[in-house]
Symmetry: C2
Subunit: 461 residues, 2 copies
């Protein structure tokens, strides 16, 4: 039983048992393709994902001369569903629909993942179809034009969702010109001017054997899955005997950020103001990530959290209120969200800030620490009942962390977090600089009082 296992890029094979008596295996194929699986006893279904470490952060402005312009990665993701020499778009859809499988893809800031959840007997089919899509998509020019319309509709839908808009603007406000600050889907203009040839180049440049990571969890036989995968990749013309080295993981140093935007107001005639107040956070590989998850749990996750109690339970100011703490290879954020009536938005923003500062100056109780450990452990145990969660955990371990951490080890690390760790981290966060985003009937001037007050000193703890 191993609690945590390093995943060195060049190592050919790894096999170990993890918490819950699952069998984890990792194989580096000659071609550079990496395959990770986690076999869950008693499972009757599986989730398989095909990953590349390419996301919206890897794109460029149209003026830069690079071909991968903003939104190209997401555009490409859509096009992979639109047909290969072997399968039309309808064939692909039928493959999964006919067995009641779930299949979809996600484009993120630092990766793209195509996945399917199917019953055990359908896993070979899922591997074959995803491999065909991954290797052999045609990016047919007519389909390209039709899909441009679909993507513009997707952007319009997101543009009509005030919480979505607030989230995108919050990333821009905190991260500024950093590549992680940009929206994942590009802009309507960048999508309108995207060309098929440029997206094709982006595809060819980033979907090579050395880029591909396949992760499978649930009812999976590792060797059989590899045989199925190699057969599919081989028949697509991939040179499986040609040695390839996996692409290096991203550098993880936190760069200096530009001065953030203190206040962003997007005026909308909506009933609520969608409000986010936040600060720069901690990168995904930072040692303080565990303390941050404890902090975020105590502060803004669940109905017993401080933010929920202060904003919703005691004052009835919001229905939805929580905090969040996304982490990437070289940037992180900490944000507090609430949707509230416009006249109360300054009050809610002030409460958010004062609660974070109270955490920094007074810390957490032993009870809160203990409850947070229980909450994180219980929630993780429930989440790991889904093979989707396990498939994603493998992908994250391989692409971002370079380490597989099972539930027992994750809980052990949580148990080591002290009240001082949490308070010290809270002090770093509370030191700002703060960015506030308000989408709705709001005016910038209302928020100056919250944003302009001097930050508490980061060494207060």
């Amino acid at each position: 039983m191993n609690g945590a296992v390093d995943l060195p890029l060049g190592q050919a094979d790894l096999t170990f048992r993890a918490a819950g008596d699952t069998l984890v295996r990792r194989t580096l194929l000659t071609s550079g393709v990496r395959v990770l699986s986690e076999r869950v006893p008693g499972s009757r279904s599986a989730t398989v994902g095909f990953w590349v470490a390419v996301g919206s952060r890897d794109e460029h402005s149209a003026e830069s001369g690079h071909r991968a312009t903003y939104g190209s990665t997401h555009f490409l993701e859509h096009l992979l569903f639109k047909g290969t020499p072997q399968r039309t778009a309808l064939d692909i859809a039928i493959s999964f629909d006919a067995v009641g499988g779930e299949h979809n893809a996600i484009t993120a800031k630092e990766h793209t993942c195509y996945y399917a959840r199917v019953q055990d007997r359908d896993l070979p089919m899922a591997i074959r179809v995803l491999a065909d899509m991954f290797t052999s998509s045609l990016l047919d020019p007519d389909e390209f034009e039709s899909e441009r319309g679909v993507i513009l509709e997707e952007l319009a839908m997101a543009g009509d969702d005030p919480a979505d808009v607030a989230s995108e603007r919050f990333f821009e406000a905190v991260l500024g010109a950093h590549p992680l600050g940009r929206p994942i889907g590009g802009t309507p203009d960048s999508i309108r001017s995207a060309t098929r040839d440029a997206v094709w180049e982006h595809y060819r440049a980033n979907y090579r054997p050395a880029d591909l990571v396949v992760t499978i969890a649930g009812a999976v036989d590792h060797d059989a899955a590899i045989a199925e995968l190699e057969a599919a990749l081989g028949s697509a013309g991939w040179a499986l005997d040609e040695p390839g080295e996996p692409v290096a993981r991203r550098a993880t140093a936190a760069p200096a950020l530009e001065a953030p935007t203190p206040i962003t107001v997007v005026e909308r005639p909506t009933e609520q103001v969608n409000l986010i107040l936040g600060v720069p956070g901690v990168v995904a590989t930072d040692d303080r990530r565990v303390a941050l998850s404890v902090l975020n749990t105590i502060f803004g996750s669940g109905m017993s959290s401080r933010l929920f109690q202060q904003v919703r339970e005691r004052r009835g100011l919001a229905y939805s209120v929580y905090s969040f703490a996304p982490g990437y290879s070289d940037a992180g954020l900490f944000g507090m969200y609430a949707g509230c009536t416009p006249s109360k938005a300054p009050t809610v923003a002030a409460l958010m800030r004062s609660e974070l500062e109270r955490l920094a100056s007074h810390g957490v109780t032993a009870d809160e620490l203990e409850r947070a450990a229980g909450q994180l452990g219980g929630a993780a145990a429930l989440a790991l009942e889904d093979s989707d969660t396990r498939m994603s955990r493998l992908g994250r371990a391989e692409l971002m962390l370079g380490e597989f951490v099972d539930l027992d080890e994750a809980l052990r690390r949580v148990s080591l977090v002290t009240a001082d760790d949490v308070q010290s981290l809270a002090a770093d966060l509370a030191a700002g600089p703060y960015s506030l985003v308000a989408v709705g009937s709001a005016d910038e001037s209302e928020f100056h009082a919250v944003i302009d007050q001097p930050a508490i000193r980061s060494d207060v703890a």
Copy 2:
């Protein structure tokens, strides 16, 4: 092995095995409380739900003199989280958060359900806390006022979501003054004028032993769960030895509906128009429900469906497009949804109608029938991996259907659906009357051409 089992209201005990070798048990306690459980081999967690057959349809206008005014049921649902003599709101939140459980409630048109998903060891706690909330909530006047603000925020959030608005207006358009046509949460006005005493009466009138149905799925020992439940109910002062008869299930006859509203436009300065076109459907207990699920699968569920292919894949007119077919005790609806650019909304609406008419006049292929069976079976098998789905299935069986149908029997029924069944049902639906709802930058006059054309005859098939 039983595929389908009747659940007669007065029967004391039932025990049977269902597909997947689960053990289903139902007990009618002396007090009239009903307990249904489904034990799933190998499961390590459980979901428990406390149900009453009271929903928004059971409310009344303020002018009617009834105390349960619009939105009272949902208001009450919120208040059950706000404390009992034994537990404050924070205590309740901590009980579940401290073990990482999920706990929430749903108010629907015909029922209310309070539920929790927890690890197996935490099931007794979940039963105790839910029983305390169900029996002994204080509806404290101060908490009532604070929660009024929370609910107004919830309504405002829904009011800012154009798809939500379209859905609520669609129910109104098709069902008119029928009680199922009203929004679940009430209106801002009805929430502002709600009184604590009226909601208290609503609580006392509808949360009695004979109303309560408890359903539990996953890692559950039926007898132990009943012992835990009765201990909790008894200590709340419930007279468990006093004989009670479960409340009768709702009548299931389909009433005549008023003339529906043909066109509803809610003007909004949004980027997309959220469009729903639909017709009255089929009640939940109708023999044609199985044919309807096959029809809905072929027509508008999944990427291979006709609607998806016509609207998105071939023409790139929408990102989100699907059909849906909710069924209630005495009304049903069939709707087609798409979000699209305003100038294309009339085209999309016309496509929806012509596709439904094509289904009515030309029917479905044997391939489509076979694929639909595979899709429904596979999706159900995957969904039943979650104890939430099984807990809900038990509640629906007890409260609405009066029959438990396992996966094998459900698939057998699907396999009996013929192309004629689907075409005949499509003809009934395509006969209208049609209602169209558009939320966004739209004008009623654009849609007359789609709505005013005469419906095809319902005997076309």
